[in-house]
Structure formats: C-alpha cells, structure tokens
C-alpha cells in the first residue's frame, strides 16, 4: 500500500513541478497567451470541451481509427510474421520488401493513402494499421526464431505435428517479443492516426489541433494534446497489463519491454 502510494507520488511531483515552472515562466517572461496558455486556461478548455462540448466526438473519432487500425495492423503482422518465419521461401520473397519499407518513414505515405482510400475513416484506419505493422511483424519473426531448439527437438521426438509445435511451443516462446512489438505499436498507432488527420480530416484530435492552430486557440491545442497523452498512457498501460497477465511465466517484464 505505502509503496504503491510512493510510486504514485513521484510522477505527481514531476507533474506539479512542470506546471509550476510553466505558470511561473509565463508570469516572469510575460509570454502572451496566444503563444503559451496558462495551465488554468488549458484546464478550462478541457472543461468546456468535454462538458457539453465537441471534444468527445473528436476523441471518439481518433480512438475508433486507432483501435481498429491497431487491431488490424497488429493482427496481420502476427499472421504474416508467422507465415514468413515458418516458410523459407516466403521469407526470402518478403525480406527485401521489408528492408525497403522498414527504413522508410511510413507517415510520409499519409497523403498517398488519403488519395487512394478517401478522406474518411477508412484511410485513417489503413494509416494506423500500416505504422503498427512493422514493429509487431519484426518482433514476431525474431521471437519465433528464438524458440529454444531443445524444445522443438523434444516436440519432434514425441511426434508432435507442425501445427502443434507452432501453437504450443513457438508462439508462446515468441509471446514476450510480440508483446514488446505491441507496446511500440500502441504509441505509433496514435502518431499514425494524428498524421492522417493532419493531412485531411473533418474530425479527430489531430483535426482539432490543426483547426485550433488556424484560429490561434493555443489552449485548445494544449487540451487536445493532453487528451492524446492520456490516450497513449491508457493504451500503453492496457497492453502492459495484458502482457503481465498473459505471459505470466516470464518473471521480470520491465526488462523485456522495449520502448
């Protein structure tokens, strides 16, 4: 109990310090409110936005495209990753494509995707799925390849089918790596959604930031940023929780999670 409370104390202290420095620098350096809003005005923007305001629909829009895109992108990544690591031919065929796409910033594809798939939800989902795909895909392959060969030998010696070896041994072996990929993907998914909304959208938190920038409502921009940060934190914690619950046999998780 007390240690939990202490764990919570440190981030709260940091937040308080940041807000204090923020408030004080506005007063000391006379920063105008169209450049940097006061913490209080951001709070007020959040209040008016979420109580009877339009923020909920923007939040819902971004969340919808993020969640669908995340599930589709990560699901495909695990599936294709499994196929590629199980088939040598598939690996040789797909490998050069992966190398080419991996080093390219995926967000640069956003305008093209909007042209191809329209300006509505579909293009946002595809954008999110695309950015989520690679970290999960790569981690799936790495994880599956790291299966202890002694375990595979054991399975072969008991006449286990290829499917059984994959399902009962390789996939659980790779689960830790896959979750590390899922952790990276949750952060990338929000980036993908916001970038797609920046390019063209009539809704979403990305759109909200963009439109507030035009009217110089900096406090609304900050309110949208805070909303995005909360989404990111909640998503990351959910994935971390699922990791801990599902991959119970791997003791120290913090060391396996790459961020």
């Amino acid at each position: 109990m007390t240690s939990k409370l202490k764990d919570l104390m440190y981030p709260l202290a940091t937040a308080a310090a940041v807000i204090l420095v923020w408030q004080l620098s506005i007063q000391f350096f006379h920063i105008p409110s169209y450049v940097l809003p006061t913490p209080l005005s951001v709070l007020r923007a959040l209040e008016t936005g979420y109580i009877g305001g339009v923020f909920w629909q923007h939040l819902a829009y971004t969340m919808t495209s993020t969640i669908i895109g995340y599930v589709v992108g990560c699901g495909l990544a695990i599936l294709v990753g499994a196929l590629v690591s199980e088939s040598e031919v598939a690996e040789k065929l797909v490998h050069p494509l992966i190398i080419a796409l991996q080093s390219m910033p995926k967000v640069a594809l956003a305008p093209l995707i909007l042209v191809w798939f329209g300006f509505e939800m579909k293009s946002k989902v595809i954008m999110v799925a695309l950015v989520c795909f690679f970290p999960v895909f790569v981690n799936t392959i790495v994880g599956l390849k790291q299966t202890n060969p002694a375990m595979v030998d054991m399975a072969k010696a008991i006449s286990a089918s290829r499917w059984m070896i994959f399902w009962e041994i390789k996939l659980p072996s790779a689960a830790g790596h896959i979750f590390a990929g899922l952790q990276i993907a949750i952060v990338l998914s929000l980036i993908g959604a916001v970038v797609a909304e920046f390019v063209s959208s009539s809704r979403g938190l990305g759109y909200l930031i963009n439109s507030a920038a035009v009217t110089l409502e900096v406090n609304v921009m900050f309110a949208a940023l805070v909303s995005l940060a909360v989404l990111g934190i909640v998503g990351t914690q959910l994935v971390r929780y699922a990791h801990r619950k599902l991959i119970f046999w791997e003791g120290n998780l913090s060391s396996t999670v790459k961020e």
Binding site: N148, M151, M154, A155, K156, A157, I158, A160, M164, F248
Partner: protein, 271 residues
C-alpha cells in the same frame, strides 16, 4: 564376474518377443559441414535385450548423443540401421520415450499438462493418460505439484517431471541423454537412486547416455564404452551388482573395481 542371476531377476516378466529389443547393426554416421565431412560413428553394432538398463559412456563429443538422436528418430544414420522392437527406426515412435539433457518443460504449462504433452501429440486417450500421469507423478514424488508451473520446481524436480513425460505413453524403450548432468552433485545422487527405483518398477529397456563413470556403474546392467570420434565400441561391460543398489554400494570394493576398470579404459582412450 559372478551372480548374473541378480541382473536377470531385475528383468520384468511378460515382455513380448521383440518388444524392447534395441539392435544396432553396422551403424555409420557422417556429418557434412562447410569444412568437410566428419565421421561421428563408425561401424557400431550392439544388441540390447528387453528390460536392460544400458549406459553408453564416452568422452564428450564422441557421438553418444548422436546415437540417442538416431534411436529417437531425430537423425538418420549414413549407413547401417537401428532397430527397436524388431522394426527399423525411421522417425519418432510412440514406443520410444526420450528424456533430454535439459528438462525442456514448457514454462507456460503446468506439470500435469507438460507430462501429458506426448499423450496429446500421439492422440492417446486423454482420460486414461491423465490417470497414468497422476500415478507416475506420484511414483516420482510430484503428485502434489501437478498444478505447479515448472519455474516453481527445483532442477531435480523438473528433471523428474521430464522423466515422467518420457514414460507417459508407456514406451518399451526409454532413451535418456545425460539427464542429470545439469544437476548439482547431491541432487544427482538422489536422482540416480530414484531413477533406479522407477526403472525397477516400470521395467523398461533404458539407453542411458552419460559421461560419468560412477553414474553408469551405479545404474546399469551393462556399460558400453565408446571411443572418441569416430565412435567405436571399445568395451561392453556387464555390471553384476545386486539391486537395489544404494549409495553405500558405491564405496564397496565390487563397485570400485568396475569404476577403476572403466577409468583405465578411459585413460587409454586419451592416447
């Protein structure tokens, strides 16, 4: 060496004509690597009778494990053949159980599920296998840990679970690849004692790979000594010490005569 009846008395009755027989005839194994061919086994022939506990002893890297991998159906010989129960080994078989050097238990399954894995992959009746698993776990002193996960067990307990897994499909032949080499000395001696008890109750043909001379003498009816690569049979020693053997047996003159004899053979192999 006298009192051969002690050995035959330990053999279980009622084993079928060829079940449990392990015959190795003119076995050759050559590995082809980028740096050329390595001959691992050269013209090895040996017959193991049903219910015998036979150790294969040899310096590390002599091809002992290669022999076991062939018996397990994980590796094909380059020449000659291995027959188990009168049938040539062409792949993994339900009548052959394997215990590996590492326990290789799946950390995401509890002990019972781990032990039942061969029953699942071989498509056996799961209800019957479950009953058998509980009996075997009880025999191995693990019945209270059926629901535990491998990382909650000690190394010795994990290896015992590995042995139970090897016995679950009631094989006629049990292959064991240095199963105690990863354990500390104390656990190792206790495990030798327990393995002897399990073997005396289960009555399987056991092919036991080891590089420990006392371990081989303590456990075996027969000790086969292999030379360094390419592995050839240099000694086929029958151990006539009555069972059950205990840890005190290891300090008796009969026992030490065997270990001395085997050490001398090893010393010669080094040259």
């Amino acid at each position: 060496m006298a009192s051969a009846d002690a050995r035959t008395a330990a053999k279980p009755a009622g084993i079928g004509s060829s079940a449990g027989y392990v015959e190795v005839s003119n076995l050759y194994v050559t590995f082809h690597t980028a740096r050329g061919a390595t001959e691992a086994v050269r013209d090895l022939s040996v017959t193991i009778e049903p219910g015998q506990f036979v150790s294969v002893l040899g310096p590390s890297g002599c091809g002992k494990s290669t022999l076991l991998r062939i018996a397990a159906g994980l590796l094909r010989p380059s020449g000659g053949e291995m027959r188990i129960g009168g049938e040539a080994v062409k792949g993994p078989r339900p009548d052959v159980g394997v215990v590996f050097q590492q326990p290789t238990l799946l950390p995401w399954k509890n002990v019972l599920a781990n032990v039942l894995l061969p029953a699942k992959s071989l498509g056996l009746n799961m209800a019957a296998a479950r009953t058998r698993a509980m009996d075997l776990l009880k025999m191995a002193g693990l019945d209270k840990f059926a629901e535990s996960y491998p990382n909650e067990l000690s190394g010795g307990m994990q290896q015992r679970a590995g042995i139970v897994r090897g016995l679950i499909q009631d094989p006629t032949v049990l292959l064991m690849d240095e199963p105690f080499s990863a354990l500390d000395a104390m656990t190792r001696e206790r495990m030798m004692d327990e393995l002897q008890a399990i073997w005396m109750k289960a009555g399987k043909t056991v092919l036991f790979i080891t590089h420990s001379i006392p371990e081989a003498v303590y456990l075996s009816d027969r000790v086969l000594v292999l030379s360094p690569r390419p592995a050839q049979l240099v000694e086929d020693l029958t151990i006539d010490i009555p069972r059950p053997r205990s840890l005190e047996t290891m300090s008796e003159p009969g026992f030490t005569a065997y270990t001395k004899h085997l050490r001398e053979i090893f010393a010669k192999l080094d040259h």
